[in-house]
Amino acid sequence: MRENFFASRSGIVVVGVIIGISAAWLQYLGNPANMGICVACMERDIVGALGFHRASVAQYLRPEIMGFVLGSFFVSLLAGDYRPRGGSGTLIRFFLGMFAMIGALVFLGCPWRALLRLAGGDGNAIFGLLGLIAGVFLGVQFLKRGYNLGRSYPQHRASGWVFPALMVVLLFLLVFRVSFSPGGPIFFSEKGPGSQHAPLLVSLAAGVIIGGLAQRSRFCTMGAIRDVILIRDFHLLSGVGALVAGALIMNIVLGQFKPGFTGQPVAHDNQLWNFLGMALAGLAFVLAGGCPGRQLFLSGEGDMDAAIFVLGMMVGAAVAHNLNFASSPVGIAPFAPIAVLAGFVFCFVVGLTQRERLNL
């Protein structure tokens, strides 16, 4: 049996460094500041480009996301990890994804961006990361009490192609800048973060490479914290640490490191809601078994439940912008507290009720 180098300690550190350097470099080449890679923001931009929300500053078909799924898809096929499966708490995962996105958009970033914001000197990210840790800690308490969404079951081989195929369609719409009606989608932001992006091919290539590496190494930002709390395992955390180190060094080299709390790019300094937004996201990620990046990589290798979580996140982005839950650099939105509270209630009910007895 061939050993998987990327599943070793050195392997995951190498992957973390590559992700960190790529993210900072993508920012240098045009992606929004401290947003070289942000799974939540980028999915939100895709949803906006399709017209499912109309926040005109957040509309672009981000090729990094397509690359993540396709890279994982190809590498899993080559490595024999491709395994179509589904049927584990599917609808619940959809809503976990939705509330994870709502929480992330109150903070203004997923765990990946929280790490990149930290590496860019944004002090507000500290409160988001503390929230993430608190949310994961809460989720682990449910895991310890027997929480699980049940077993998944093998599915037909072709069913795992559906999600990668969707990514190919999105890529097609991006490359040909398809317009479905005058003044209608596909939308491309003319100002704001949605208008800022690295060249298409660079973004796509970075996405494919990271998708492939992350599939092999099982890189997961939520899992990193969960494993430390649950089983005192620092394996995944070493990858996350390497990401921050790689991005930090690259940011300093490229002159992108700007320490402070105020005036940080696409961020607000309402620390209570930075904390609570990310805590909700962290809790939802634990209950769904992976951070938003990991859910994309799993979708690529045939996990249809992870794909449903991603679709839930996308709907969550539309909901967050249409119903005024999503924050802006000015601060949180009027209905954000209610949405976050509803998310916590949902996660608690799920955490307490989904306790199928597993026959060991």
């Binding site: 494993d227 089983i231 395992d233």
Partner: protein, 70 residues
């Protein structure tokens, strides 16, 4: 003494590791863990090896059997 059998097929991380942890806490020193994917295999092996278990892996169609002894 027979091995304690842990069937973690169809479960994703961290469930297989939690189940193995529970079996260890019951005082079992001889385990036979069934998983159905590489990630679970890697995670369970890492968990058991760190706790001083000697492990052996047998791959069958549709499942991977990890035998562990103290």
């Amino acid at each position: 003494m027979g091995a304690r059998r842990v069937d973690a097929r169809g479960l994703s991380c961290p469930q297989p590791v939690i189940m193995v942890d529970r079996a260890l806490k019951e005082g079992n020193g001889h385990l036979e863990v069934l998983v159905d994917n590489e990630v679970s295999k890697e995670n369970v092996l890492r968990f058991l090896n760190k706790r001083g278990f000697h492990t052996e892996v047998e791959e069958e169609v549709g499942s991977i059997v990890i035998k562990a002894m103290k």
